[in-house]
């Protein structure tokens, strides 16, 4: 049947798509760093104090912050799309996305607080 009352375009979606791709790039660059650190710890190239020194460094904290933000954005966008795909009822859709937003930003703030609280 012809949709006579077509609501038209919401002029949305580009930002989601763009942020998802952008955060993916950031993740692709930054994620290998902690992994490399992990490998170095296992192989004994870095000991506990060395590790703390590295993590404590200002640049590390900055990168770490960037990583967490990118990770949260990426996960949020991904899960949002999945909720939009599989939850057809608008009320549920909006509440679920809202709940997700609260949980994720809470988690992000908590993590960032830990990073910046280290070493005082």
């Amino acid at each position: 049947m012809k949709l006579v009352k077509d609501p038209g375009s919401a002029r949305s979606g580009f930002k989601d798509w763009y942020l998802q791709r952008l955060s993916a790039v950031v993740l692709a660059v930054l994620l290998p760093l902690p992994l490399a650190l992990l490998v170095m710890v296992y192989t004994g190239q870095v000991d506990q104090f060395g590790l703390l020194d590295i993590i404590d460094h200002f640049v590390s904290r900055l990168l770490h912050t960037l990583l967490i933000i990118a990770l949260i954005i990426h996960a949020y966008m991904g899960l949002k799309v999945m909720i939009e795909d599989y939850v057809p009822i608008i009320g549920w859709r909006v509440s679920l996305i809202g709940a997700m937003l609260v949980v994720m930003s809470g988690f992000g703030i908590w993590w960032l607080a830990i990073i910046w609280a280290w070493g005082g």
């Binding site: 375009s9 919401a10 979606g13 580009f14 798509w17 763009y18 795909d85």
Partner: protein, 236 residues
Amino acid sequence: MSEMIALSVFRYDPEQGDKPAMQAYKVPMSKPGMKLLDALNYIKWELDGSLTYRRSCGEGVCGSDGLNINGVNGLACITPIAGLKQPIHVRPLPSMQVIRDLVVDMDHFFDQYRQIQPWLKTETPTPEHERLQSPEQRAELDGSYECILCGCCTTSCPSWWWNGDRFLGPAALLQANRWIVDSRDEAMGERLDQLEDSFRLYRCHQIMNCMEACPKELNPTAAIDNIKRKILARKS
């Protein structure tokens, strides 16, 4: 006796309103290179006149006999029997409302095609002769103009299954791109405005089912990607 082909065909009779069921048929292999449509025609003309399906050209041009054949969407008229596992399961296009047997309601599909306004839009005054295109500009349309709107791609797209009321689907988006890349069309901005929507366009997650399904071997995913690139280009 010639070789027999076993088919299992989806039947639904709206007048009886009973549950749909698969019905088994046996059809002789009448000629080398026989297509699935030949088998369906044999059933209709020789065995069971009530079997209902759409068909017209019989050679992959009109796009009316898109079906789900052994789980894969395709056109019955150009699908050779030889390559199919038997019994051949023939079903209507997935996720569509069945009107009867293999016939589905295509209204919404064509309505979405209409939504992308598939005609040339211009603002400059009509020239005395026609609006010319160089061979290179014409070549831009390759891979789009061949689409016969059979719906095999759109009905195979999971995103369209879940959000088909709003997501335009690969066929309509391929056509939207066809007008965006047309050198004579002067409404690219307006077209992009209409498409820039997290449901209409961005529901495509590049699952690529559409490309797999297209009997004309077109690539709607690439077309959708091109639209996204055009939007990206005007934003950044």
